[in-house]
Every structure is written in C-alpha cells, then in structure tokens.
C-alpha cells in the first residue's frame, strides 16, 4: 500500500526491548489521582521493579503497594492476599482511591479481581470505602501504553457520573511529562475553562521539598473531578494511535454519557497544536488567549531563523507509538527526515498513520518498525546514516556506538536529571524541542569542524 518498510529480520527473542510492561503504565496513571495508592496484584518483584524504574526517571517518592504472592498464593489464588493488602493500605494511608492493576502472575492463574473487590466491600459493610478501581494488565498482551490508556478508561468507567453540565472539558493527555501536564493546566486556566485532566501527575511526580511529612504526595486529579467527567461539554483525547483503537476513556464517556470526544495527536508542532487550540476554542466557545498567539508567533519566527540548520537532517525516532507519530508530524514540519520511526508497540496502526502524514514521494526515504527492539533499531540506524537520534535514554548505547547524538525525550530518562521537566507539547514545548534539535545539529557540526566556529 505504500513504500514504508516493515521489520527487516524476524527474530524470536527480544534483544534490548523498546517497550515496558503493562502495569507500569497503569501505576503511573494511578499516581496522577489525588490521594490514590496504586496496588499491584501479584508477587512483589513486579511492584519493586516498577517502582524503581519510575523513581529513577521522576526522582520522586513513588509508593506502589502489592498483594505479595507467595508460592501457594500462586497455586490457590490471591483473593485473601488482595483483601489483606486493601485493609493494610487503608490503615496506613487512608487513601482517596485505590487503583488495582494485575501482573502476569495473577493474570496467568486467572484471578477474578472484580469478585475479590466485591467480597472486600461486603466484608467492610457499613464502613466508608474509597473507590477501588481495577484494571487487568497482563504484559503478555501489550506494552505500558495499554496499561496507561486502560487505567484512564477504567477510572472514568468506574467513577464518572452524569450530573448537571458545568461547562467543563475533559482532557486525556496520554503519557506526557509532568512539565507537559503543568503546561496544559496553564492553558486551561488561561482559557478560563473548568476541566478534568486525567491523569495529572504534574505535582505528585515533580513536587517541591516538603516542610512537613506527607503520607501521600499532594496533587493529582481529585476523585470529585473524575466524577464530574460524565457531565462535560466534551473530551479531548491525545494520541493518534489511541484514536484508532476500539476503546478509550473519551469514547467510553461518549457511549455512556454522550460526551463528545475529540481525538487528536499529541500537540507537538504547529499543526497539531493549532488543532488543539482550535478545538478548545470551538468546544468552549472562548477565544484563544493572546499569550498563545504570541507563543505561536515566536515559534514560527524561530522556525524561519533556524530552518537552515535542521533542514534535511536525518533522524531516528523511537518510543511509544503515539509519541512517535506526533514527532514525525513535527519533524516533517521543520524539514527533518524521520528516516526511521520505531516503536516496541504493535498496535498495527503506526504505519498507516505515518503513511497518511507523509506524501508518497517522500515515503521512500522512511522506514517504520513496529514491535521493534534496539537491535533492530540500531542496525537500521547505521544503515540509514542518521544524523540524529530522538528518543528515551535506552538509546544511549546505540548513540554511543554509532557516534550519533541522542536527544533525550519521553520516558525513561535514567542517565540525566530533569526527566520530569522535559517539555514536549504546545507551542512552547515544541519551541524547546526545536531549539534542542537545532543546537544538537549545530554542536555536532561544530565538533566535527576543523575551523572551530564560535560564531554563527
């Protein structure tokens, strides 16, 4: 159907994966709910690994509880363990919500978690319980993105209600950084629109020092606002791959409460950000604040000024499918050729989405890898003579071996500080990405030049 090549060699094993496991995505979402405690149903290794992985990126406290399976739990089922865990979490943390995600272990043995939750609620009759939301997250069926989107959907399905319409807009931003989330909140406030943003880990995963002890880090989407999501004017949901999936939080709210859902890519680049602001304006009936018109103007000004440094540079892009799709859109806009677009995800949609973005005659220069690992990516990156690698820090070894500079974005960034503060979206986030790309290319040329330029 087009010129885009798929995976070149089919290996059975995955070498140096370019994806993470499902409950990680779900845990991240639960960390973005105010007063929530994530609980993984399985053995403790998964929660420990996932905590450690999230913490070394966000550099914030991240508590994730576990139902601590032992050998006989694995044989006889985890009902009793789950109930003990719920009880202990309530005693220690007095949570406003408990988000349960399963692991491969409890999924393999087929634990009926909804039934355990019902039994626990019966046990606690007469007591006030926080909402307990459950999502099934076997990693042998997806990546962390299925866990992420699935948890957002489970939350609205479990908590949202129909109420009086209050002019609010629901925002489902997908797996973006705390800095991105903070920026989105600023935009909503400047527009003067009441909103429910789900999740919101901008404070919980990028917070200040505490002057006094906090049982659960402050911040996050209040449960009350998730309730109100059923009565919104409309939902905006980021993620072009998500838009092609059968189910999503936005679509679920539409089906259940007739809240219209507007799907779009992550607002990276002028086109996608324009689309976001236009949608916000048309759904809310409010004008786009002047501040953002100015940001847009500055971004375009920098495109004009910096164009010559980036045009026709060859980039390798990898990461979550939604992120890769939106980056491709942006790179195209600034004249960078995304010679390789790779993801460990395998929704089957990425290729089609990118094909639609890129005109036929340019497609011959572009390769797309789904279900890719870093062995695939590295061998192709070498062959394609890339100038630039854009993705998370797991690409560092490849960047070092191939001597191609790496621009760290997304998740995880484990070998730098400030992973939580990388800003990707909106005109301002795009501006930051653009400057980093241009400067990285300039620096590479500067380093390679015998003249030693110090002035442009």
């Amino acid at each position: 159907m087009n010129n885009l090549a798929i995976k070149k060699e089919e290996y059975t094993a995955t070498k140096n994966a370019c994806k993470l496991c499902t409950p990680l995505g779900a845990s991240l979402v639960f960390k973005g709910i105010r007063g929530a405690v994530p609980l993984l149903h399985g053995s403790q290794g998964c929660s420990t690994y996932i905590r450690r992985y999230l913490i070394s990126h966000y550099k914030e406290p991240i508590d994730i509880a576990c139902s601590n399976f032992a050998e006989e739990t694995a044989i006889f089922g985890g009902g009793a363990n789950l109930k003990i865990a719920l009880e202990n979490i309530r005693r220690q943390y007095d949570p406003e919500l408990v988000g349960i995600a399963t692991t491969c272990l409890s999924e393999t043995i087929g634990d009926d978690v909804p039934m355990f939750i019902r039994e626990y609620k019966d046990m606690c009759e007469g007591q006030e319980l926080p909402p307990i939301v459950h999502i099934s997250t076997p990693s042998y069926q997806g990546t962390h993105m299925q866990g992420f989107h699935g948890a957002v959907r489970a939350l609205v399905e479990g908590v949202a209600e129909k109420r009086e319409q209050d002019g609010r807009i629901n925002l489902f931003p997908g797996m973006v950084s705390p800095a991105d989330l903070r920026h989105l909140k600023e935009i909503m406030k400047d527009f003067g629109i009441p909103f429910t943003m789900l999740p919101d880990y901008s404070d919980t995963l990028d917070g200040p020092l505490w002057t006094e002890y906090q049982r659960i880090p402050p911040g996050g989407t209040p449960v009350e606002e998730i309730r109100a999501a059923g009565s919104a004017l409309g939902s905006i949901e980021f993620g072009s791959v998500l838009a092609m999936e059968k189910e999503s939080a936005g679509r679920s709210l539409f089906k259940k409460f007739a809240v219209p859902c507007h799907s779009m890519g992550l607002p990276i680049g002028v086109d996608e950000t324009d689309r976001f602001f236009n949608t916000l304006s048309s759904v809310s009936g409010k004008p786009i604040p002047a501040k953002y018109q100015e940001e847009r103007g500055r971004l375009l000004d920098s495109y004009v000024d910096g164009h010559k440094y980036v045009i026709e540079a060859r980039a390798v892009v990898y990461g979550e499918e939604d992120l890769v799709a939106s980056l491709v859109q942006f790179l195209k806009e600034i004249g960078v050729i995304p010679v390789l677009c790779a993801s460990g995800g395998r929704s089957g949609h990425l290729q089609k989405i990118i094909a639609e973005m890129i005109p036929d005659d340019e497609q011959k220069n572009i390769r797309i890898l789904e279900n890719a690992d870093f062995t695939d990516i590295e061998s192709m990156a070498e062959e394609l003579k890339a100038d630039l690698i854009i993705g998370h820090s797991k690409g560092y070894t490849m960047s070092r071996r191939l001597n191609i500079p790496l621009i760290r974005i997304g998740f995880p960034v484990h070998d730098r500080v400030g992973g939580a503060r990388i800003h990707h979206i909106g005109y301002r986030g795009t501006q930051e990405l653009f400057d980093r790309i241009a400067n990285t290319l300039i620096e590479a040329r500067q380093n390679a030049s015998s003249a030693g330029y110090t002035y442009m």
């Binding site: 290996y11 059975t12 094993a13 995955t14 070498k15 140096n16 994966a17 994806k19 993470l20 496991c21 499902t22 990680l24 609980l39 053995s43 403790q44 290794g45 998964c46 690994y49 996932i50 905590r51 450690r52 992985y53 913490i55 070394s56 550099k59 406290p61 508590d63 509880a65 576990c66 139902s67 601590n68 399976f69 032992a70 050998e71 006989e72 739990t73 694995a74 363990n81 789950l82 003990i84 865990a85 719920l86 009880e87 202990n88 005693r91 220690q92 692991t103 491969c104 272990l105 393999t108 076997p138 042998y140 069926q141 020092l209 505490w210 002057t211 002890y213 906090q214 049982r215 880090p217």
Partner: protein, 551 residues
C-alpha cells in the same frame, strides 16, 4: 545493685525511648500485622553471648510497601548479572527482563579476557505473548537460545524463569539440556520464579546451587600464582572489585575467581583449585562456600573490605591463613603504605562528620559492613536493618541450628553435597586448623550485625515505607542509607540519602581508595548547604513575611 541493673534496662536512643518509637510504628497496623512486625522490630540488647532474636526471612505482609524484590531479581540480577560472558535469557514477559537490564551498576573489564566477550549490555527476553501463556513457551525458548548462540557464539547461556513460566509448566531445565547437547556449549536454567521464597534471598540460593552444579569444578587446570583464593559475595558495584583486585595484586595474592563482580564463567569453572574462599556478602553466597568446602575441601573465612580498618584486618586474616612470613610481611608493608593517606583523608573530614547520626536499611550485608565506615567517620548508627537478611546475618551463625525452616524456605532446593572422591583435598591438616583457630582465625564464622551495634539501637527487618517515614520523622537523622526507591521520599524530608545498592553513580567505596572516596562523599552530603535553603526566609522569619506580603 538491683536498681543499677534496672536502670541500665532503660535505653535511650538520641534522647528518646526506642520502645516508644516502635510502638508508634506499630500503631498504624491492624493487631495481627502489628504482632508480626513487633517481632521484626527489635531494640538491640546484647549481653555477652546473648543476642535478641529477630524474626527475619519471613513473608512481607501484603499492602506494606517494602524494599524487597523477587527471587528472579536475586538470581538473575544479583548473582548472575555481573558475569560478563554468559548470555542471560529471561524466559517470561518483557517487564522482568527489561527492569533488570543494566540497573545495578556492576562494572566489568572485558579487556582482560582474550575473547573480549561482554554481554552485560544486552537484555535477552523471550518476551512471552498470549500464545505462549496458553500453549507453552518451550518452543520460543529454544529458538531464543538458538538465536543467542548464532548471534554471539558465547561459552555459556543461562535461562531464568519468571513467574508465569512455573505456572504454565514450561520445563526450562529440559530445554537447556536439549540445547546444550545440540550446541555443545554450557547451557543451564534457573527455576527462579518470582513468587518463590520471600525475597531476593531465595534467588541467591537457587543461583548458588546451579552455578555449583553446572559450572564449578569443570576445569581442573591449576593456574600459576601464590596464595590462591576466591572472593565471594562481591559484585563490583561502582568498581569495588577493581580496588580489591588492586590490593590483592600488590600483596601478591592470586584471585582465582570472583563471585561475581568482574567475573567470567571460566574462572567459576576453575574456582575449586583455589585454597581459600573469602566471603564478603554472607547472605547471598555462603551456600557456594559451604558446598565447595564439603566437595573440594577449601575452607572459608568471613572478610569485609568496606572500611579501611576492616580491609587491613581482612588482609591480615588472609596472611594468617596462608601462614607464610613472606606474605605477612608483604601485607603489613602494603597496609603501612596505604593507611596514612586514608587516615589523612579521614582526619580532614572528621571535624565535620563526627557526631552525625546515620541509619542503614539495605541488602543482606551492607547495612552491617558500612557501619565500619561510619565508625571511622565518628558517626553513630541509630538504626539499621536488612532487606532480605536471615537471622544468622543479624545474630550470627551460631543461631543456625535453631532456625526453624518454614514452608517458604523448604521450597528452595538444598543440594546434597559430598566430598569428591578425586578432587577433595583438605587444604590444612586438623592440627594446622587448630593452631590457626587458637591464634584467633575463625573459620566458617560470622558474628552478625547486632553484636556490633550499640544497645538501644533499633534493628528493623524488612522495613516498610510507613516505618521508614516514622523513624525519620522521630529522629531526623543526618543521613539515611538505602536504595533508589527510598531515596526521594527521604530527601523530601530534607535528609540526604546515600544509595548503598548503586552508590549514586559513585564508588568505589571498598578497600583503601574506596574509603577515601566514601569519606569525601559523606562529608559533602551531610554538610551540603542545600539543606539550609529548605525553608524560605519568610517561613522562618515572621518579620520578613510582612515585607513579602502580596496584598
């Protein structure tokens, strides 16, 4: 008299009654949980040979957020992870393998082996999908082994089972056996499903067993060199093993194998030709030492290279064992040469570190070993505990016969080991051993952590996040030592956390040079100016607040 004895019963820890702090920790738990935890939170009280009993190596209560990882993590991540020339394949869904990919900062030096093999930067996984969960994953595993072989032609391949594998009934051992025959290289598997045992500790034991069964003793070549020994339980985090190797070399000591910092499979295979085993981390590797002693006759002694004094002491123990004046002289010369610089560095920071208070909650040996360095810095350890230690690590090996084996430990295989009819060779005669003992050299002994801690200090096994927050609030220590999972929650309180798993990108801290690094680092941490900025001026000074008022 009676009164005086009574008075001594009331301990004070930093001006507080440790029992009260313990009560506070337990108050958030339901009765049953509190009762269980009460046995794992102990106010230390050592009287002569009497050490209080601390419950440990028992299951973590569901819902208590703890530090522990799983059996797989202990097996693949800790023990086998640092060996550079074995291709490790994780048989399971992607997460388990991904999360154990280069996250431990073990270093290795592949330039010292001719083939230059180093597969530590690779993360091989069968990345199980639905299909394998339903129909079994042995076929995919075989293909993965074949691919690993085709790609790298390694000397050995190891396969690690994760949770789902045991449940769907894949037999990793028979697959490994089949592929070993087919490919003609050493291929072996580990049934280290995460739900086994109660912590990483089960995984260490399983790793020890399989290395012992499949690797140690495969190569009988007796290599050149004097004073041959193996170093066990040293994982070369931040380059610790390099520093220890440097010191050995300087002393003329030959290290045959290391388990498993900076290690190779060939060295493992040859380890039984050494004459002494040294144990650093008793928890993770004492099994191998015990089994080697039975089968091959080389005894083991406990050493510790964390802390300059401890390093000197350990070197002297080695010299005493080999009982050769040439070595003793050399060792003394090396100590005399190295120590002055260490002492100087220590004296420089001492005025700033003296009297500061630390807490250590980490691993199965480091919470003990690092107290040495803090002692050298004049710092007091208020509280300490292991993440996955057993009673013998706390109270000393003398309690071993009395430890009840529960269901979780019984599930971990105990290998039956006998003296090898050909290869068993006692390294010392009974008389020689007796003589060494009488001179104070202890074989197969470990005193444990508690006898070396002050009475009144709090010893907490498998500490939970809630308990951590409580003691930190209560004592506001100057420094907390744990891992990445605890780091940022402790630092939110304004207290620096030193990672003793990964060293916060620092190290080495072992040996003489390591001690100097550590002194400097701790000085920087506990005396950082950052902590003074915690409160904004208008929060500490109400006068100023007025001038900052916004209205």
């Amino acid at each position: 008299m009676a009164n005086a004895a009574l008075k001594e019963e009331i301990f004070e820890l930093d001006g507080m009654d440790p029992e009260k702090v313990k009560e506070e920790m337990l108050s958030a738990y339901p009765t049953k949980v509190a009762r269980k935890r009460a046995k794992q939170i102990i106010v230390n009280k050592v009287e002569g040979e009497d050490v209080p009993i601390i419950q440990s190596n028992v299951r973590t209560v569901p819902g208590l957020i703890g530090q522990r990882g799983c059996c797989y993590a202990g097996c693949k991540g800790v023990v086998l992870g640092p060996t550079r020339d074995i291709v490790n394949i994780t048989h399971g869904p992607i997460g388990c393998g991904f999360y154990s990919w280069l996250t431990r900062r073990n270093q290795t030096d592949a330039t010292t082996t001719p083939d230059g093999h180093n597969f530590m930067t690779y993360c091989f996984s069968t990345d199980m999908q639905d299909e394998q969960i339903i129909f079994g994953g042995e076929k995919k595993l075989k293909q993965a082994i074949q691919e690993a072989y085709d790609n790298f032609h390694p000397k050995a391949i190891a396969v690690f089972a994760t949770c789902p594998v045991g449940l769907i009934g894949d037999d990793v051992h028979s697959v490994c056996k089949e592929m070993k025959e087919k490919l003609g290289i050493n291929i072996f598997g580990f049934s280290c499903e995460g739900y086994k045992g109660v912590s990483q500790s089960a995984g260490h034991h399983i790793a020890n067993n399989q290395i012992f069964k499949h690797v140690i003793g495969n190569d009988d070549t007796v290599k050149d060199g004097d004073y041959k020994l193996n170093l066990l339980g040293e994982y070369n985090i931040g380059g610790d093993a390099f520093e220890i190797e440097r010191i050995f070399k300087k002393c003329g000591i030959t290290q045959v194998a290391s388990f498993s910092g900076n290690s190779t499979i060939d060295a493992f295979a040859n380890a039984h030709t050494a004459d002494l085993n040294l144990i650093m981390c008793h928890r993770s590797i004492n099994y191998v030492a015990e089994m080697m002693e039975k089968k091959y006759g080389l005894p083991w002694i406990k050493v510790n290279f964390i802390g300059a004094e401890a390093t000197a002491k350990s070197l002297r123990k080695i010299a005493a064992y080999f009982d050769d004046p040439k070595l003793t002289e050399k060792v003394e010369a090396v100590i005399a040469e190295e120590l002055p610089e260490v002492k100087k560095a220590c004296a420089e920071v001492l005025p700033r570190t003296k009297g500061k208070r630390a807490m250590l909650f980490v691993g199965g040996s480091r919470a003990h070993h690092y107290q040495e360095l803090f002692n050298e810095l004049g710092m007091e350890t208020l509280s300490a505990g292991y993440e996955f230690g057993h009673r013998d690590d706390y109270e000393g090996r003398k309690v071993l016969p009395g430890i009840k084996v529960d269901a979780d430990s019984r599930n971990i295989e105990e290998l039956k080991v006998e003296a090898d009819p050909e290869k068993f060779k006692p390294r010392k005669s009974p008389e020689e051993l007796e003589k060494l003992r009488s001179c104070g050299l202890e074989f197969a002994g470990y005193e444990g952590m508690m006898p070396e801690m002050k009475n009144g200090s709090l010893v907490i096994d498998d500490i939970s996040q809630h308990e951590t927050d409580t003691i930190v609030e209560a004592f506001k220590p100057d420094l907390f030592c744990a891992g990445i999972k605890e780091k940022y929650s402790i630092q939110k309180h304004g207290i620096p956390l030193k990672q003793l798993h990964s060293y916060d990108y620092g190290g080495p801290y072992a040996g003489f040079k390591g001690a100097v690094n550590f002194y400097k680092e701790i000085d920087r941490m506990v005396n950082s100016k950052i902590w003074g900025y915690l409160k904004a001026p208008w929060q500490t000074n109400p006068e100023l607040a007025a001038t900052y008022a916004w209205d």
